[in-house]
């Protein structure tokens, strides 16, 4: 088995604010990220796919198909958006990198079969870097 990882980038704004907490608690918990006007990041996501090398092509995944799936399901809906206000999932969940990673996995898994109908390749994990100083990895097996 081989693992192939592709990196992608998008820029978006968000605000970390939990509606269950009051203003002071949100400010204490999220600090600057709680700024009511929001703020933005250049996100980098790494999508890792696992599968055997197909003898005819010498490849484990058709990178163009993967690019198309990620572009339609993640980059286009997230690029230059306010995640809290313009992405449905973040009306109910705080758009932390943890939740963003889970949402990306969910979107890719839900649409995987349509692009990759065979047994392989399979989505293995997604890593999200909000800045170059942190990274969050979500295994595809964690998400329904």
């Amino acid at each position: 088995m081989i693992e192939v990882t592709r990196k992608y980038r998008f820029s978006a704004s968000h605000r970390l604010h939990a509606p269950q907490l009051d203003e002071a608690e949100n400010r204490a918990l999220y600090g600057k990220c709680n700024n009511p006007f929001g703020h933005g990041h250049n996100y980098e996501i790494a999508v890792t796919v696992r599968g055997p090398v197909e003898p005819r092509s010498g490849r484990a995944v058709d990178a163009e198909l993967l690019d198309g799936l990620v572009r339609r399901q993640v980059l286009e809906p997230f690029e230059h958006r306010n995640l809290n206000e313009e992405v449905e999932a973040f009306r109910a969940a705080v758009p932390t990198s943890e939740n963003l990673g889970r949402e990306v996995v969910r979107r890719l898994k839900q649409n995987w079969q349509a692009v990759f109908p065979a047994d392989w390749p399979r989505l293995e994990r997604v890593a999200i870097a909000e800045t170059s100083r942190n990274a969050f990895e979500v295994s595809a097996h964690e998400i329904e």
Binding site: E3, V4, R6, G58
Partner: protein
């Protein structure tokens, strides 16, 4: 404990299957099927697994590892047209997947000692695309 060492080489390749027609190759590999070849600056990351020697405090001698990577991979791959100059790419398509497997096969006999066993090979074809191979068992 895992230890990773990087090496770089630049090489050209073309991704074409001799069993396919020109238009099938173009459809499958796109611009990478150009028969004249094209090139990349490849970055190789080799990861070893082992425990530090109680006397030296090292899993293995990194100078020796660097020499092994140079001798077994970089000197063979660097500034070459892989399809024409590096076996097995006369009959195996030099996709990053197959390059990762070939580098694993080249390194395994030299990195199987009790200290510093080959754990994984990661090859970057570009900064945005890498492939990892952990051997047959992985």
């Amino acid at each position: 404990m895992l230890i990773t060492r990087k090496a770089e080489f630049s090489a050209s390749h073309t991704c074409r299957s001799p069993g396919l027609s020109e238009s099938e190759n173009r459809a499958l590999f796109g611009a990478a099927a150009n028969p004249h070849g094209h090139g990349h600056n490849y970055v190789l990351e080799v990861t070893l697994e082992g425990t530090p020697d109680p006397v030296t405090g090292m899993v293995l001698d990194l100078k020796a590892l660097k020499e092994t990577l140079n001798r077994e991979v970089v000197e063979i791959y660097d500034h070459r047209f892989l399809n024409r100059e590096v076996a097995p790419f006369d009959h195996v398509i030099p996709t990053p997947e197959n390059i990762a497997i070939d580098i694993w096969n080249r390194l395994l006999p030299h990195l199987s000692g009790p200290r510093g066993k080959l754990h994984g090979v990661r090859i970057y074809e570009t900064p945005d695309l890498y492939v990892e191979y952990f051997g047959d068992a992985g």
